[in-house]
Symmetry: C2
Subunit: 348 residues, 2 copies
């Protein structure tokens, strides 16, 4: 089981873990932004491997650069890798660790809310390949994850909203009460210290699910809520040269999937309005597409990793907040209809 | 646990496994030689991904080609990959399967004695990177391995000798009796049907060890017998543009390590002569190096994945046939002395 530390004393937590693991050598994997903005505050003296920031660099070239740097720095199987960064770094650094010499130990230190709540926990690692997100990777849990909300203090509003969408997803999967609590909290105005207990609760939802089903044979698929439609929005936006934050895509995806849940599983209609209102009030904006793009969006959904065949599209749906339903196959017409209602609700 | 089928009815065995696993789609990974020489005999109608043969193509480019082809052929997480080939194919195809969409199932069908006895069994997958062998990879056991000696009937003598060296290694690890039986069998003149029971016994030695220690934290390191020095010979030869078969390198490596075992662990001197004689009588030839190359060879040994630090060199040694000793740290002078005796024994 992954060890998760919730703390606002990051450096000491990292040093404590290094002492405990007692590796031959320590290698930080990070990106240029984090190196400039965050590492000076942490004052860690380990060797560094620094890649270019951004999802467009979560690719085989950056991964090869990391592998090559590990060789150059003399990393052995008994070394330790510390991934410090957002989801790109924890995913790619995790896969680098999982595949270098067939696997070395690693720690994740997420520097964005999104990676803290999602990417840094649960053992999914990977890179994008030929335009498909996380197409290549491994299930490889970090030895430990250090979660600290003070690292988020300098994050732009967009990054906070993006991460908060994944927290809302965990609330939706967990209980009506946890979901309500999250819709009543305003992430944009919050001070980051008050976020730590809420974040801990949210990460524990994911931990519970992952522990039950580490390799995603069943209930872990519930965590894909919002992601089948969300990845489609994200990949579509990227293809059109206007990338959107992952969490925004998931926030939109959850609305699409709530609409489908309403049609097929009697998800309450008032919940659709409440959630759409939340997105509008909190500045999530809207995705840029028209009815001419439905086929392209459906095509992206069809490629989703959790589909069983290329001919069916598989969603996580909800009968109510706190009641997920996995492996629901949905037809194309149903998705088109949901996209119509989605545009109505958000006024696109 | 991996299922291993020993059979000389390969096609039926494969079709039976496919029926049992019942995948969405089946994708054969193979190389141009195997496609030409072996696939026509098997008459399998599955989709194919064909790479260039040879260890020099066991690299990130071939791996990317395989990943891209899996996407193109519409492989999902519920597909099945069948690796048909030598160690390059089973290692690289296994890693492709382990990393595509974070892991799909795969079967290995070794077409060389070497891959049957070694690479196809035990879950080590990988590719070479920046000149280092199997530097990148994963521990990922095949769902099943189909072992058939009739596939070896057209193998050149060199390939048989190469694979047989790994069988001798298993004998050395297992018991004096099994080792003696192997030194009394002549692989070059044997008919392949008579090899199947001997091969089954040999693979079972590896299975027993891997089952006890799948991730190589302890006793599995015994399987590295001959490989610390062997990989050095192999990489040195490759660097000088005169590649030698892996099994030849291991055969030489075992002699070096027996010599060190004699100095440090009282391995019987008569066994050194007997084994050196076996190599000479059976046409294993000799590696091409002089005393000027000792430092280069030691440098390769220093990079071996199982070393705990960059400053120590870690060997599997023997106190007698059937009695391996893992994690023995050996100094540079000791290795130089062993290389001197090695050249004497083989008359280099």
């Amino acid at each position: 089981m992954q060890k998760i530390l919730y703390t606002n004393n990051v450096s000491d937590a990292i040093k404590g873990l290094v002492d405990e693991i007692n590796p031959i050598s320590v290698h930080i994997i990070t990106d240029e932004n984090v190196e400039r903005e965050v590492l000076p505050k942490l004052a860690l003296s380990y060797q560094r491997i620094v890649v270019k920031p951004g999802d467009e660099h979560k690719n085989i070239e950056s991964l090869s650069y990391i592998w090559g740097s590990l060789i150059e720095q003399g990393a052995t199987r008994h070394s330790l890798i510390i991934n410090i960064g957002g989801g790109v770094i924890t995913d790619m650094g995790g896969f680098a660790a999982a595949s270098y010499k067939r696997g070395v130990r690693f720690i994740n230190v997420p520097t964005t809310l999104l990676s803290a709540v999602d990417a840094a926990v649960g053992g999914k690692t990977g890179i994008n390949f030929e335009g498909f997100k996380n197409e290549i990777g491994a299930f490889a849990p970090a030895d430990a994850v250090v979660i600290s909300t003070i690292l988020f203090e300098t994050l732009p509003r967009e990054e906070l909203l993006s991460g908060y969408a994944e927290m809302i997803k965990h609330g939706l999967l967990s209980s009506a009460q946890e979901y309500n609590e999250l819709l009543n909290f305003s992430i944009v105005d919050a001070d980051m210290a008050s976020l730590l207990p809420l974040l801990e609760k949210s990460v524990k939802v994911k931990e519970r699910i992952v522990e039950e089903d580490p390799k995603e044979h069943g209930i872990r698929r519930a965590l894909n809520l919002g992601h089948t439609a969300g990845h489609a929005f994200e990949e579509f936006a990227l293809e059109h040269g206007k990338p959107i934050p992952h969490g925004y895509a998931v926030a939109y995806g959850m609305l699409v999937e709530m609409i489908i849940s309403h049609s097929l599983e009697a998800y309450p209609s008032e919940e659709l309005y409440r959630y759409a209102g939340y997105l509008k009030d909190n500045g999530y904006g809207t995705p840029d597409f028209s009815c001419k793009d439905y086929d392209a969006l459906v095509e992206y959904m069809r490629h989703d990793k959790k589909n069983i065949t290329r001919d069916s599209i598989n969603f996580t749906l909800l009968s109510a907040p706190g009641h997920p339903l996995i492996d629901r196959t949905v037809g194309e017409e149903e998705i088109h209809a949901a996209l119509d209602i989605f545009r109505d609700l958000l006024g696109i």
